[in-house]
C-alpha cells in the first residue's frame, strides 16, 4: 500500500484516534473514549477495518512465501504442512472479503477475524513439533532465522487482527475505558504478575507436588501502557522456568523448604524493569550460551516424547499443562526465545544472569507504548 494514501487519510482526521501509518504504530491521544470510537465512522465504516483488511493479506502472503521457501522435506512434514495450509486459507479468506461498506459487513469481517485468530492459536507449538522432527534436515541457524522471522511476523499479524476485533467489540458493547483495543493504558504489572504466578503455582503443584511462593516487591504501584497479553505470556514463561528450577534443584540438594521466587518491579525514566529472581541452582556455564536457542531444553528427552499412560496423574498433568498458554510447563524449548521476541517487539529487552549453584536473575525491560514510541511493527 502506498504510504501517501494513508498519510492523507490520517491528516484529514481531526478527532483523536488510533492510526496505523503504513508500518508504524502511533497513538495520538491517551484518553480514548467511546465518542472517539464513534468518530471513526465515516459512512459507517471504520478506518480500522479498512486498514486491517488491506494490511493483513500482505503479511499473510509473506508468511505463505516464507513457508514455501522451506526445504521440501521440511515442508512435507505434516505439522508444518498444516500450518502452511492454515496461512494460505486465511490469506484467501481475507483477501477475498469484499470491501467493507456497511455495518453488517463490518460485523462479518470481525467474525472472520475472530475465527482466523482462533484457528491460528496453536501455530507455534505445532511448528515447534514439526521442527523437532525435522531437526536433521535443516541446520539450526536456518531454523533460528526462519523462526525469528515467523514469530515476529505472527506477533504483528495477531496484534493488528486482535486490535481490530477489540475495537469493534468496544464500539458495540461496553468496554473498559482504560483500554484502546488490546492495549491497556493503565496496566498494573503487579496485578498481572500475581495472576500469572497463581496459574503457574497450580501447574507446578500439579506436576511436582509442591511449588514455591512468589513474592512481588519493588515499586508495585507502577502502571504503564502496554499490551497485557504479551506481558502475560512473557511472565508466565519466566515463572514456569523459575518454578521448575526451584523444585528440581531443591530435590537435588535435599532442601525441604522451597525458597520463594522474588519478582521486583521498577519504573525508570525510559522503561519499566521487572526482575525475576529465583534460587533454582542457576544455569551451568556449558548451557548458558544456548538457552535462547530454539529447541534447546534441559528437560531430559524421554520425559516429553513418550506420554506415560500407566500413570494417570502424570497424563492429566501433562494435559493440563498443554492447556496452558502456549504449551506445557517445560520441554519444548521455545519458552525463552519466544518470550524474548515478545519483549523485543516493542523495543524492550530480556537478559538472564546466572549464579551457578545458587539461582538465576531474569531482567525484563519494557518500553511504554505511547506517542513517543516510533517503531516498525
Amino acid at each position: 500500500m502506498p504510504i501517501s494514501r494513508f498519510r492523507f487519510i490520517s491528516l484529514s482526521f481531526k478527532a483523536p484516534r488510533l492510526t496505523f501509518t503504513n508500518t508504524s504504530f502511533n497513538i495520538l491521544k491517551r484518553d480514548y473514549t467511546t465518542q472517539d470510537v464513534i468518530s471513526f465512522y465515516d459512512d459507517k465504516v471504520t478506518k480500522s477495518a479498512r486498514y486491517t483488511r488491506s494490511e493483513l493479506p500482505v503479511r499473510l502472503a509473506r508468511r505463505v512465501k516464507a513457508l514455501q521457501n522451506l526445504p521440501f522435506i521440511v515442508g512435507t512434514n505434516p505439522y508444518i504442512k498444516s500450518v502452511y495450509r492454515l496461512y494460505f486459507n486465511s490469506f484467501e479468506a481475507i483477501r477475498g472479503f469484499p470491501e467493507i461498506t456497511s455495518i453488517e459487513k463490518d460485523a462479518e469481517f470481525a467474525a472472520l477475524l475472530k475465527e482466523t485468530v482462533d484457528l491460528h492459536a496453536v501455530n507455534i507449538p505445532t511448528l515447534a513439533k514439526g521442527f523437532q522432527e525435522c531437526r536433521k534436515y535443516m541446520n539450526s541457524e536456518d531454523i533460528k532465522f526462519f523462526l525469528d522471522d515467523m514469530i515476529r511476523a505472527r506477533i504483528g499479524i495477531r496484534l493488528i487482527a486482535e486490535q481490530h476485533i477489540a475495537l469493534y467489540n468496544a464500539l458495540h458493547n461496553d468496554h473498559d475505558p482504560n483500554f484502546i483495543g488490546i492495549i491497556n493504558t493503565r496496566m498494573r504489572p503487579e496485578k498481572l504478575i500475581e495472576q500469572c504466578a497463581k496459574f503457574v503455582h497450580e501447574l507446578c503443584e500439579l506436576h511436582y507436588g509442591s511449588a514455591p511462593e512468589t513474592i512481588i516487591d519493588g515499586q508495585i504501584d507502577t502502571t504503564f501502557m502496554y499490551v497485557p497479553v504479551h506481558l502475560e505470556y512473557i511472565i508466565t514463561e519466566i515463572l514456569k522456568n523459575s518454578h521448575r528450577a526451584t523444585v528440581e534443584y531443591s530435590q537435588k540438594i535435599n532442601r525441604y523448604d522451597l525458597p520463594p521466587i522474588q519478582v521486583t518491579i521498577s519504573q525508570g525514566k525510559n522503561n519499566i524493569g521487572i526482575r525475576v529472581r529465583d534460587q533454582g541452582g542457576g544455569v551451568s556455564a556449558k548451557d548458558l550460551p544456548s538457552i535462547f536457542d530454539y529447541s534447546f531444553t534441559t528437560v531430559p528427552r524421554d520425559e516429553h516424547e513418550d506420554h506415560p499412560t500407566n500413570n494417570i496423574l502424570a497424563g492429566v498433568s501433562t494435559m493440563a499443562m498443554q492447556a496452558g498458554l502456549g504449551g506445557p510447563i517445560a520441554g519444548l524449548g521455545y519458552g525463552l526465545p519466544l518470550a524474548r521476541n515478545y519483549a523485543e517487539y516493542f523495543g524492550g529487552s530480556m537478559h538472564l544472569m546466572s549464579l551457578h549453584s545458587h539461582g538465576c536473575d531474569v531482567f525484563l525491560y519494557l518500553k511504554q507504548i505511547d506517542e513517543s514510541l516510533d517503531l516498525q511493527i
Binding site: G268, N270, L355, H356, S357, H358, D361
Partner: protein
Amino acid sequence: MHWRANRCSLKSNNIIAKKNSGSYFFPQQTRNVTYTKTPSHTTVPLTANSSSSTTTPPHPLSTVSITGLKANSSNSATPPRPLSTVSITGLADSIQFTSLQPNNRILDQYASQPVHTITLRQLVFFGRNLSEERLIQSGNYVRTELPIRLAHRIRDFQNLPFIVGTNPHIEMVYGLYWSAFEKLRQFPKINTMEDNDAFCATVKELLKEHLVVIPQLAMGMNECSDHIPEKQINLFMNKMLLSRLSRRVLAEQQIALTENWHDPGYCEGITNDGYIGVVSTRCNARDIVTEVAKMTRKHFQNKYRIVPPDVLLDGEQDITFTYIPEHIEYILYELLKNSIRGIIEKHAPASLISDNTTSIPKSFSFPPILVTICSSPTDIHFRVSDQGGGIPDEIYSHIWSFSSSHKFSDGKKNGYKFVNFEKVPKMAGTVEEQEGARIPPLLHLGIGLPLSKVYTEYWGGALKIMTMDGYGTDAYIRIAKLGNREENLL
C-alpha cells in the same frame, strides 16, 4: 656548554622545520624532521657512550642535520614520534633534545616480541618451593618480560593521534614509560642474589615513580575526549591499565618473594598466613566481604554520622580459594561504596550534607545490601544487590567508559568525568591507600568501575552490572577459582 648546544640545536631545528613545511605548528607535515626529548634533565654527553647498548646517541646538532634526515627517511616504517610544540617554546624547562631514532629501532625489536603470559598457578608454583636458583630464574623472567610489555605500550602511545600524544599529561606518562623501558632493558642478567636485590630495588623505585600514571592518564583522557572516538579511548585505556596491572603483579611478586627469602623466620614456600608473594592461598570469600563491608561502612559513618545500610551475606559463603586478595578487595570496595552511596542518596539525600546531624530520625534504617556468594567447579560468583535507586539510562550506557565526551544533564556531574583527579596526584589502585588516607575514600574519582572491570578481567573473570532504574542495581562478579587462566592482556 650544554645550554648553548641546546640553543644552537634549537635554532637549526627551527630553520629545518621552516624549510620543510609552512609552519611548525602542524608537524604532521614535517615528517622529515622529528624532535625528540626526554623529560629527564640529564645531559647527553657529546662524545661519550652513555649506554651499554650498541648505539651511541649522536650529537644533538647532527640529529637535525642531514644525518637526522637520513635516519628519518629510513625509518618510514615506524610512525613518527609525535611532535611537541610545547618543547619548542618551553626552552626554559631545559628539555634536552636527544635522538631516539636509533632507540626506536630497539623499541621495534622489543615490541615485535610476543608477551609471555603467565597463569596464577604458575606464579604460585614458582613461589611455592623457593630456592636461590628459582628466585633468580623468576627474576630474569621479570627482567625480560617487563621491557617487552612496556615496549608494546609505548608503541600504543606512538599510535595515538597527534593531538592526544602532545597533551602534557599523556606526554609525561610516555616519558616515564620510555625511561623505565631504557632502565629495564639495560639491566644486566641476574646471576646472583645480590643482582636480584639490586634488580628489586630498581623495580621498587620504578613502581613508586609510576604511581602518577593513573591520575595523569585520567586527566589526559579528560582533556582529549573530544578529539578521539570513545571506542579508541576505551581500548587504549583498557590495554594500558591491564598491562600496568600485569607489570605490577610481576614486579610485586618478585619483590615479595625476595623479601620473604631474606626474612629469617621464613623456611618454606608459604608464609605463616598462607601467602606466596602477593598471592594468598587462604582467601576466604566471606571474610573478604565482611572486612570490606566494615571498612566502607565505617567511612560513611564517620563522614556523615548516620548508620549506613547493612551488608547481608547470602549463599554458600565459606569458600576458600587462591587469589591475589588486593584485587578482589578493590572490586568489592568500589562496588560497596557505590551501593551505599546510592542507597543514601535515594532514601535520605539530606544526610549527605556533612554537618547535618538532626534531620535523620534515630530509628531510620536503610534497605540492606545483599551480597550473594556461590561457586561452580571453575568459578566463584559474587552478586552485590542494592536498592539504591538504579542507574538512569544515559549514565548506564557510559559506566565503563573512560571518555568524558558526554556531559550529563544532572547538575552534579557537570564538568569532566575525571575532574577530581586534580586532587589525587598518585594512585596505586588498591584499598590500602584509601584506608591509609592517602586518597580520600569517599572522593568520587570516576575510575572505580572501569578499574574494577580491569581487575576482574585480568585473570579471565567478568564483571557485569544490571540495573533497574528507579529501584536498584545488581553487580555480578565472576572470578576464576582454579587459577589456570592465562593473563588477559587484550
